[in-house]
């Protein structure tokens, strides 16, 4: 069952329209919320006149931050519930983020909320609220924000809110020894996760049980529970957060936004069920974005292509509130060298506040920036030395002989980054073969002679996944033999109901059809962390495995007594428990579960029933990796990029379900394609959002996506019982770098591509200026 491409168990409800997303939650007496939001990127809120709004038909209440004391609360300071440590950082200034701030620091920031009998009436109410602003000068880019005369976003706090540095080896010496020194400025754009379901939250106070029920689209439901319980001074168990069917997450929903907390607080006060669903326009303005990141990089190399050292300065826009300290930059640093040896590295980074919505991770979370930098550097060395980009890569690649290999970085769990049991040269060779690299190099010359601009780009990534601290799982068998798996994580489409059931079926011997997986509900497990950082398969997957093994142990112990055999003789297959070699002597998992309720033998096996809870604590992260090769043709007159061939070779350890792995890679690749060619959050100088809808923010459609040639290579990890690594964030990492490199190559070295996205306009401009 493990490793099989079976169709997904969760699909039935989604293909019939029976999924229950947060916006589908409808309760008797439900009210609807809509937010009054700041029209300015930076302004004092001097007066909020709610009188006219209160008289709008259907409006029940208009609530500002002064309404009740709990509304003056702040969001939890740091959002990264799975960030364990923050290596490299030497200063962070955290500014409290109020649910209803007195000073708006970005366009779309919440000022007041209208509660009404319908969403339409709530929108009418919002329109009737009059806000008097005192606009202040705003800064919308890090370049402006670091100027000495720049307005301060938060009083008394420098706009540079955090700083880090780290050095490996002796960088000064590397540059003294260098035969070639190159400098580049690389820029990656800000992005929106752009799940098709926007954010939403619904809440209901259940008087009979004293429970505040919350339905949320968040990826970290326990973090939301803590925040709500903390503000309301309730026991955590009195807040039940359900985050079940979620229409895509990709990082943005892994962040606590003010609305996630405000709606439950109001529902609790009003004692009426309340729902808010974000509009796409709110999503484009008020929701978090990933933030631009600019790298100034210097490279020391030898004429034979050997990289001696790298000196990197990183500037990151973190928006008005820095909820992730420098997590994204730390991710960039820890993934920076990808498959290559850079013996001497110095990095220094700054997190710079701007008058935009706060920054937060988007699928890849700093890895796209790392990969784009490393591959652009390798290509620059190739150009400077006249070597083929493949040869430069082979010159610097980490080989199996180098394993275990440490690059000098410290992961966020405090453990030194270590690669082991991975064959990077093999991945590169496979990609080269699949892409018919040498053939395309020849064709490139022929096509060029015919006036066509063909280019080839190569990119390699690593992906640390399975970040701890841990996840747990409870596996139980009922009297009918049905198995329930409860986990502390939730799904935004990752197929947990299938893959975790496959693990359980494998470990327990129960038929997959009899296994149901439940997650995304804080009442299922006392503790859980959540879905993000490519961590579920490794953490929850191995927890399910351990719990299923523990239940199996009970089954075996009980069965050996009942069937009169030794434990070694007990076999379990398809829910049938039998004695090896004597199949007629058998019982079922259901029968054993019934017996286990009252059988005294269970006293020594942990208590009644066939049930076990186990936690898995990973030693550190696992390292997935891959190589991408893109062949593109550029229309020099229009800047249009046509992808002629795209090869994606990857390793994610043993796949739980190859179909699901395939889907993760293809979906992630498509997001990477968007990053490469057009996705971009754009603010003007005043901090107004110019990419305010899907009319302006590009998301790839079916016609835009090329056929992907996917090649799965498997290097199982010895670090967990299942030998699995992560895959969720593998897809988007390399396409931007590979496609950018291919475009640069197609343009025949006339221009350098150093900025993402590489839009048609960027290509036209580059060609005009060359």
């Amino acid at each position: 069952m493990l490793g099989k491409a079976i169709p997904r168990k969760e699909d039935q409800r989604f293909i019939t329209g029976a999924g229950l997303y947060v916006e589908d939650v409808q309760l008797p007496g439900m009210l609807y919320a809509a937010f009054v939001r700041s029209a300015y990127a930076h302004a004092y809120i001097r007066r909020i006149d709610v009188e006219r709004a209160r008289n709008v038909p259907g409006v029940v209440a208009v609530i500002t931050g002064k309404e009740w004391p709990e509304l003056s609360a702040t969001l939890p300071e740091l959002n990264g519930s799975v960030t364990l440590t923050s290596p490299y950082i030497d200063s962070v200034k955290v500014v409290p983020h109020h649910l209803f701030p007195e000073k708006a620091c970005y366009v779309g920031e919440q000022i007041a909320v209208v509660i009404a009998e319908s969403a339409y009436a709530a929108a009418d109410g919002v329109e009737a609220v009059e806000v008097e602003y005192e606009p202040l000068p705003a800064v919308a880019s890090w370049e402006e924000a670091i100027k000495p005369e720049a307005p301060r976003i938060h009083k008394g706090v420098d706009n540079t809110v955090a700083h880090l540095k780290h050095e490996v080896g002796d960088v000064e010496r590397a540059f003294r020894d260098a035969e070639i020194v190159l400098e580049k400025r690389l820029e990656t754009q800000s992005l929106k996760s752009m799940a098709i379901e926007c954010r939403a939250v619904a809440a209901q106070w259940e008087e009979a049980t004293g429970t505040l029920n919350v339905w949320s689209t968040c990826q970290f439901h326990y973090m939301l529970r803590s925040a709500i319980a903390g503000i309301l001074k309730m026991p955590a168990e009195a807040v039940r957060v359900m985050a079940r069917d979620i229409g895509g997450g990709f990082g943005l929903k892994g962040v606590l936004h003010a609305e996630d907390v405000i709606i439950p607080l109001i529902a609790y006060r009003l004692k009426r069920p309340l729902r808010w669903a974000e509009t796409r326009m709110e999503h484009m303005t008020a929701s978090n974005h990933s933030g631009r990141q600019v790298h100034d990089v210097r490279i020391a190399a030898r004429r034979d292509g050997t990289i001696l050292g790298m000196d990197l300065k990183m500037y990151k826009e973190v928006g008005a509130y820095d909820h992730f300290d420098m997590m994204l930059q730390i991710n960039t640093i820890n993934h920076l060298t990808t498959h290559y040896k850079v013996p001497n590295i110095r990095v220094e980074g700054w997190a710079i506040a701007t008058n935009t919505s706060p920054g937060s991770p988007y699928r890849g979370a700093g890895r796209v920036e790392a990969v784009f930098t490393m591959d652009r550097v390798l290509d620059a060395v190739a150009r400077a030395t006249g070597l083929d980009p493949i040869d430069v890569r082979l010159k610097n690649i980490v080989t199996p002989a180098d394993m275990p290999y440490r690059n000098g970085m410290i992961y966020r769990d405090g453990v030194p980054v270590t690669y082991d049991a991975i064959d990077f040269p093999l991945l590169l060779e496979r990609a080269k073969q699949r892409a018919e690299y040498d053939l395309w190099r020849r064709r490139q010359q022929e096509y060029r002679a015919a006036g066509r601009s063909i280019g080839i780009g190569i990119s390699s990534y690593v992906e640390a996944g399975g970040l701890g601290p841990c996840e747990g799982a409870t596996v139980s068998i009922d009297e009918a033999g049905r198995v329930t798996v409860k986990v502390g994580v939730n799904s935004q489409g990752q197929s947990h109901e299938t893959t975790l059931a496959q693990i359980c079926a494998h470990a327990l011997g129960a038929p997959i059809d009899d296994i149901q997986v439940l997650g995304g509900d804080t009442s299922l497990m006392n503790i859980g962390f959540g879905t993000g950082a490519s961590r579920v398969a490794v953490n929850a997957g191995n927890a399910v495995y351990k719990a299923a093994v523990a239940v199996r142990r009970k089954v075996v112990a009980l069965a050996s007594g009942i069937l009169g055999c030794t434990e070694d003789e007990v076999e379990i297959a398809d829910g049938i428990v039998s004695v090896a070699g004597a199949r007629q002597n058998q019982t079922t998992l259901g029968e054993l579960a019934r017996r286990a309720l009252r059988d005294r033998r269970m006293a020594d096996l942990g208590g009644p029933g066939l049930v076990a809870t186990e936690f898995f604590y990973p030693k550190t992260v696992t390292w997935a990796s891959g190589v991408n090769i893109a062949v593109v043709e550029v229309d020099r007159e229009t800047g249009h990029v046509d992808i002629l061939k795209y090869v994606f070779v990857h390793d994610c350890g043993l796949p739980l379900n190859p179909m699901v792995v395939d889907g993760q890679i293809r979906g992630g690749f498509t997001q990477g394609l968007g990053i490469a060619l057009g996705e971009r959050v754009v603010y003007d100088e005043e901090g107004q959002v110019r990419s305010g809808s899907l009319m302006d923010y590009y998301v790839p459609r079916a016609v835009d996506v090329p056929d992907l040639e996917l090649d799965h290579v498997t290097f199982p990890t010895p670090d967990n019982p299942l030998g699995i690594k992560s895959v969720g964030e593998s897809g988007p990492n390399s396409p931007p770098a590979a496609i950018a490199a291919a475009i640069e190559d197609a343009l025949g070295g006339a221009v350098e591509i150093n900025t993402l996205p590489v839009t048609m306009s960027a290509i036209l401009q580059a060609l005009r200026s060359s």
């Binding site: 326009m281 229009t638 057009g678 110019r690 009319m695 590009y698 306009s761 036209l764 401009q765 005009r768």
Partner: protein, 299 residues
């Protein structure tokens, strides 16, 4: 997104609609396919007191060939144009144009009349309406008025229709013999509107000289325009690649091109010239291979 309140009226005839239009006051909007208006209502960019839905008026749904003209009722949807056997027989070019608008769902609802009255600078139809030299029939209480395509697009989101008029039909003259036509569009990556759209319609003589040419451009300016300077350089000549290339250099004459967040003014000028050239080349390729549009009957 939730529209503000309004009253809804669904007249059964043009007369009834005109009556409503004059009696309901100033805050009235006509609702055709609704695929520009309803999003604007949702974003509350417009908040009319009354909507008059034209969907109940059978007279606005004609698709016919009359007196050497293709007559399209203003409420003809893009999908109807794309799939209509009448249009396919008379002017298959227009089926292709309609099939390039937005996406299938939008084409099922959006109408030619709605598009032309809205006069979005990046809409697809306007380029072809200009190149086809169509006529718009506007009906008011005082009677009907015919507006030629060249007078129709007056500026940003502004068409030559009066406040109390209804666009009832679009009349498109069928093409003379030996006429080839191309609509070439650079689709906006996000919105799917035209970054630039060029309609090129060329009639050639037996010896492949350009007898007549009309080029309509949409997307780059504040409204669709004819490329007059390009046309002038082509008439009477053999349209080889050199001639086309030289003439296309004038593609942006008379267009006020502004940059936006996706394309700079320079980009747009370059794209406009490129698309005019490519559209002409493709049209000439069609002409040379004898792929002409159907011919109108001899008068």
């Amino acid at each position: 997104m939730f529209p503000a309140s309004f009253d809804y009226h669904k007249p059964g005839s043009i007369e009834e609609a005109l009556e409503l239009l004059t009696t309901l006051g100033a805050d009235v909007k006509l609702l055709a396919g609704g695929h520009s208006l309803v999003p604007a209502l949702k974003l509350r960019l417009t908040q009319p007191k009354h909507l008059i839905d034209l969907a109940g008026i059978a007279a606005l749904k004609t698709v016919a060939v009359r007196e050497n003209r293709l007559v399209l009722g203003a409420m003809t949807t893009h999908w109807q144009v794309e799939s209509s056997p009448v249009v396919k027989a008379a002017l298959p070019y227009l089926c292709e144009v309609a099939g390039l608008i937005a996406d299938p769902q939008v084409r099922n609802r959006g109408t030619i009349g709605g598009s032309l009255v809205n006069a979005d600078p990046a809409a697809d139809y306007p380029a072809s309406i200009l190149a086809l030299d169509a006529e718009m029939v506007c009906v008011g209480r005082g009677g009907r008025r015919i507006v030629h395509a060249r007078d129709w697009f007056q500026g940003l989101l502004t068409a030559a229709i009066e406040e109390h008029e209804i666009l009832s039909e679009i009349r498109i003259p069928l093409l003379p013999p030996r006429t080839a036509a191309t609509y070439l569009k650079l689709r906006h990556p996000a919105s799917r509107f035209a970054v630039v759209g060029v309609a090129a319609i060329v009639t050639v003589t037996q010896d492949q000289r350009c007898a007549e040419v009309r080029i309509g451009i949409t997307g780059v300016g504040s409204c669709a325009k004819r490329a007059g300077s390009v046309e002038q350089q082509l008439v009477g000549h053999r349209l080889d690649a050199t001639r086309i290339e030289a003439a296309s250099a004038a593609a942006c004459d008379g267009l006020e091109i502004d940059g936006d967040m996706h394309f700079s003014a320079e980009d747009k000028e370059q794209l406009c010239r490129t698309y005019v050239r490519r559209a002409l080349l493709r049209t000439m390729h069609l002409a040379e291979s004898g792929a002409f549009q159907p011919t109108r009957n001899a008068p």
